[in-house]
């Protein structure tokens, strides 16, 4: 090959690079390993972290994933394909994405879905930017953002939108109910907002008054942005039906649809909207069309919104998305159907109720909010949450999320979750361990924090 090129050595191929820039060594990089050696290494690392029993949720949920999902998703044809720019050579991915969009539309009750964004948090940021562009009634760059939205999501949104001078106005939550009391909105009546964000369920697992909130937004010239758990939609009212007109945009984290916990990623963000806003939608969209013979086929469409065409005027900079996770989610939804999703959601709901019941029987442990919830709950503990969780972890139980950093006003509180995967034995074992840990940590003596 060198001869065909007309050079004497591999090195000659780099002769346009100034010699002063050339690198001589990579000392800090270890020498190559064989696959066997890397296998041993990764095997050890994977074991090292144990597999504690998981009562953590907080945006990432331990649901059952059918074995078929990843066996098919892992097929080379899905796993090693690029973005389907050559539509005729990518009908597999394209039809699948069209089916995905259709499923998300069915699940959310919205008109259109894109083909994914990075994750739930960044999807919310894109939804906010989209709302600012799409809301023709408002010139405002202010967004009403309930404090019941996942704290990491709020941070991400802030980090992404602040450079475009979009401002987030925080709405407090009701200390009894753990929800956004629609009454607090009254103080903003008459002000100009681009959108109101509505989480369902909210970060505490609590169900918001989505109909009232959506109607308030519309009555006040703001768009309504739903942030939803897609699995919960098997049971809960879909954003497209919230209030009188439905939410305008909805987004969320797709992880509960077939993505393993896997340390937080890759997951995928989904984003759906009403037809009217489709041209403000960021991310790829697949459309159904025809070929020269009139045969049905699928292709990327509305690409004029995207950076590779519109460059600095694009709806977003996103290019690579989370296609493979969407592949898994599509297969996952096809396998479960709405019956299966309903059963998984219902079992998660029931398991979390059982968990709350078991844990609340421990003196000093109490559920904090009194409103309906989905599959997460906030519990107050009679001892420092951080220490309790640490002790539980030492017993191989991930007992929940310590809320003290993000919600110091809640005191020693944790967020817990029991998906359909948790068994009655695991729930009982957690309760037993928690009781012991609290006792050892010298939890409250009876009477100090009376059992409600």
């Amino acid at each position: 090959m060198l001869a065909a090129i007309g050079v004497g050595s591999l090195d000659d191929l780099f002769d346009e690079i100034p010699a002063s820039l050339r690198l001589s060594q990579l000392d800090a990089i270890p020498t190559a390993l064989s696959e066997m050696e890397v296998g041993h290494l990764m095997g050890k690392r994977a074991q090292q972290d144990g597999q504690p029993v998981c009562f953590l949720g907080a945006g990432a949920y331990d649901h059952h994933i059918p074995a078929a999902v990843w066996q098919i998703t892992g097929r080379g044809e899905y796993y090693t394909a690029y973005t389907p720019y050559q539509a005729e050579a990518s009908q597999g991915t394209l039809q699948l994405l069209y089916e995905y969009q259709s499923m998300m539309v069915a699940l959310t009750g919205m008109d259109v879905s894109n083909a994914s964004l990075y994750d739930g948090a960044s999807a919310l940021a894109e939804a906010v930017l989209m709302a600012v562009r799409a809301n023709r009634k408002s010139k405002s760059k202010r967004i009403l953002m309930p404090r019941t939205v996942h704290p990491a999501y709020r941070r991400v949104v802030h980090n992404i939108v602040k450079n475009q001078q979009v401002e987030l106005v925080e709405l407090p939550f009701d200390p009894q109910g753990g929800h956004t009391d629609p009454a607090v909105l009254e103080q903003y009546r008459g002000e100009d907002f681009a959108a109101l964000v509505i989480p369902q369920p909210n970060f505490f697992g609590v169900l918001e008054e989505v109909d009232v909130l959506t109607d308030w937004a519309h009555a006040n010239g703001a768009l309504a942005i739903g942030v939803v758990n897609p699995l919960s939609l098997a049971l809960l009212s879909p954003p497209g039906e919230w209030g009188g007109q439905g939410a305008d945009i909805c987004c969320g984290e797709g992880q509960p649809l077939g993505a393993p916990l896997a340390s937080g990623g890759p997951y995928f963000g989904f984003l759906c909207c009403q037809q009217a806003h489709v041209r403000q939608m960021p991310g790829r969209i697949i459309g159904r069309t025809q070929d020269l013979d009139g045969k049905v086929g699928y292709t990327l469409t509305l690409q004029a919104r995207e950076q590779h065409i519109r460059r600095s005027k694009a709806t977003s900079n996103i290019c690579t998305n989370q296609g493979l996770m969407v592949t898994a989610a599509t297969i996952h939804m096809a396998l479960l159907g709405s019956e299966g999703l309903e059963r998984a959601a219902a079992a998660s709901y029931a398991n979390t109720r059982a968990l709350v019941e078991a844990l609340s029987a421990i003196p000093g442990v109490a559920s904090l909010f009194d409103r309906p919830a989905f599959h997460e709950r906030v519990l107050r503990l009679p001892a420092p949450a951080a220490g309790v969780l640490r002790s539980l972890a030492a017993h191989n139980v991930l007992g929940g999320l310590d809320l003290s950093r993000d919600y110091p006003e809640l005191g020693e509180a944790i967020l817990i979750c029991a998906t359909e995967q948790r068994t009655a034995e695991e729930i009982a074992a957690y309760a037993e361990k928690l009781a012991r840990v609290i006792q050892l940590q010298g939890g409250v003596t009876c009477g100090l924090v009376p059992k409600e």
Binding site: I5, V7, E16, I17, R22, L23, L26, T31, A32, S34, M42, R45, D49, P52, D62, R75, E77, T80, Y82, Q86, E88, A89, S90, Q91, L96, Q101, M103, L107, V112, Y118, S122, Y153, V156, N159, A234, S237, E253, L261, S263, G265, P266, G287, T289, Y298, Q307, H308, R311, S312, N317, I318, G323, L324, T327, A334, S338, E339, N351, A393, L398, E420
Partner: protein
């Protein structure tokens, strides 16, 4: 046929959800869904068969040569997939305590260190979810840097006209105006034009080197000096890092901030569009602004660096630690390559590209920059063929599909008319390259003798050429119940 069209009411895969249906009557009706979502109702076998068959309508690296310029479609070692999918790794919750995360964190830490070494940067954060998010992070750090110094007049980011669309789009998302810099006739950035526009309003410049024109910008040191002297910073778009891996470090070239596309250079699979990972590396002065989370080591223990430890950070850009599974795959790939393997990536991808260029030229194809050495990719322009034969780049691309080759990147970069950007990568062998070259030769003949054949391509794929205009005009973006029967 869509999966929806195979649906039959009441059917589902019973093994895939709890056998008993839990009672949810305690959820008040107002919150509940009135009608079930119209998802497909199929058996497990139907779903498996449908998606297995569908997959076969794709081209992919595992089945075809995929010389898509700027995309680095190289082989994805299968071990990366299986080892990143070990049960212990898949089941780790993102909020698991550090006590139960040391194995995972060790991988991230070592990946940070390896990327630092191979790019010559001071520190690396792995968290951006893809290249474009890495760009956002990089430009946001540039902004944070200038702001911290009170240098608030800098409102412009310079971008060469050959740049990828994400570059200007990312700059705008960070609140900057974008100014395009032209390319000179030899493919290097027009240095004089650059000098004419830099100034106190310049926040920075976004560059890839080698550029998407398939050449290494020989004036990179002069560019760096020009921009730095004007008080701007240099951003390196690492999409083309494959070309120089282990040969030249962006840090040495003078860049202040870079992103890498692990789904290109570090061989994590593209998955039909993603996921990727776009770690960022920075020089000393930008270290405080790196996005969180990162991993640090204290003694024998790995610890997270979050907003708390990094108060000046531009913060987090996804809810957790980015695309962790992609990072693990890249880590495994890097360990397999090792110190010896990394420069070989650059050497063999460059060798393959230069070989193809020379042979295609011999067949009569016109290089966009014939006087230049190709890097890991190169451009040919079909403007002559388009003019003389009426057969354009898109036609060539579609006809290549009939020959079993994925088309190269078409019509990008925008400044070269009727162009094909061809990137063979280091993992292809000569027989495959020759096969592609032969196909190009044959298509050239066809274009001369039977242009209709080429213009009507593809002929052998699941569908013929698709009507994109119809797709955009008569939007059909979702199947709905009413579409049925």
């Amino acid at each position: 046929m869509l999966i929806f069209e195979q649906s039959k009411a009441g059917r589902y895969a019973p093994a895939q959800s709890p056998l008993d249906k839990a009672d949810i009557s305690s959820i008040p009706a107002q919150f509940r869904r009135r009608r079930s979502a119209a998802l497909p109702e199929v058996s497990e076998m139907q779903a498996v068969r449908h998606y297995t068959r569908l997959s076969r309508k794709n081209f992919s690296i595992d089945t075809q040569f995929y010389p898509l310029g700027s995309c680095t479609m190289k082989y994805n070692p299968r071990a990366c997939n299986s080892l990143a999918s070990l049960p212990g790794l898949l089941s780790r919750h993102p909020e698991a305590p550090e006590s139960h995360s040391q194995g995972f964190m060790a991988c991230l830490y070592e990946l940070q260190e390896m990327l630092r070494e191979v790019t010559g940067m001071r520190a690396v954060s792995l968290s951006p979810a893809a290249g474009a998010q890495g760009e956002f992070a990089g430009v946001a750090m540039i902004r944070a840097y200038h702001e911290a110094r009170g240098d608030s007049a800098r409102c412009e980011i310079l971008v060469p006209d050959a740049a990828h669309g994400t570059n200007p789009a990312s700059a705008v998302m960070c609140g900057y105006q974008v100014r395009e810099i032209p390319t000179g006739p030899d493919g290097d950035v027009d240095l004089e034009a650059l000098k004419a526009v830099v100034g106190p309003h310049t926040a920075g410049i976004m560059l890839t080197n080698p550029s998407t024109l398939g050449v290494f910008d020989r004036n990179i040191e002069a560019i760096a000096k020009t921009v730095h002297q004007a008080g701007g910073l240099l951003y390196y778009d690492g999409a083309n890092l494959n070309a120089i891996l282990g040969k030249v470090r962006p840090g040495t070239m003078g860049f202040d901030v870079i992103h890498m596309n692990l789904h290109k250079t570090f061989s994590t699979p593209h998955g039909g569009g993603g996921p990727g990972a776009g770690p960022v590396g920075v020089s000393e002065r930008l270290v405080p602004y790196l996005p969180v989370p990162m991993v640090t080591r204290e003694g024998d223990e790995y610890r997270w660096l979050t907003e708390r430890e990094c108060p000046e950070s531009i913060g987090r850009l996804t809810a957790f630690a980015g695309n962790a599974g992609v990072l693990l795959r890249a880590y495994i790939y890097a360990r397999l390559l090792g110190r010896e393997g990394m420069p070989r990536v650059a050497e063999f991808s460059t060798l393959n590209a230069n070989y193809m260029l020379k042979r295609l030229q011999a067949l009569g194809f016109q290089a966009a920059y014939p006087q230049r050495r190709a890097t890991h990719e190169f451009i040919i322009t079909l403007k002559k063929q388009a003019k003389e034969l009426g057969v354009n780049t898109m036609d060539f691309a579609k006809r290549l599909l009939d020959y079993g080759f994925h088309a190269p990147t078409t019509y990008f970069p925008l400044l070269v008319p009727e162009c094909l950007l061809i990137e063979p990568t280091e993992t292809e062998d000569m027989a495959t390259l020759d096969g592609f070259i032969d196909a190009m030769g044959r298509i050239l003949e066809e274009a001369t003798q039977d242009p209709g054949l080429v213009k009507g391509a593809p002929h052998t794929l699941p569908v013929k050429r698709l009507d994109d205009v119809k797709a955009a005009r008569e939007l059909d973006l979702a199947w709905r119940q009413r579409d049925a029967g």
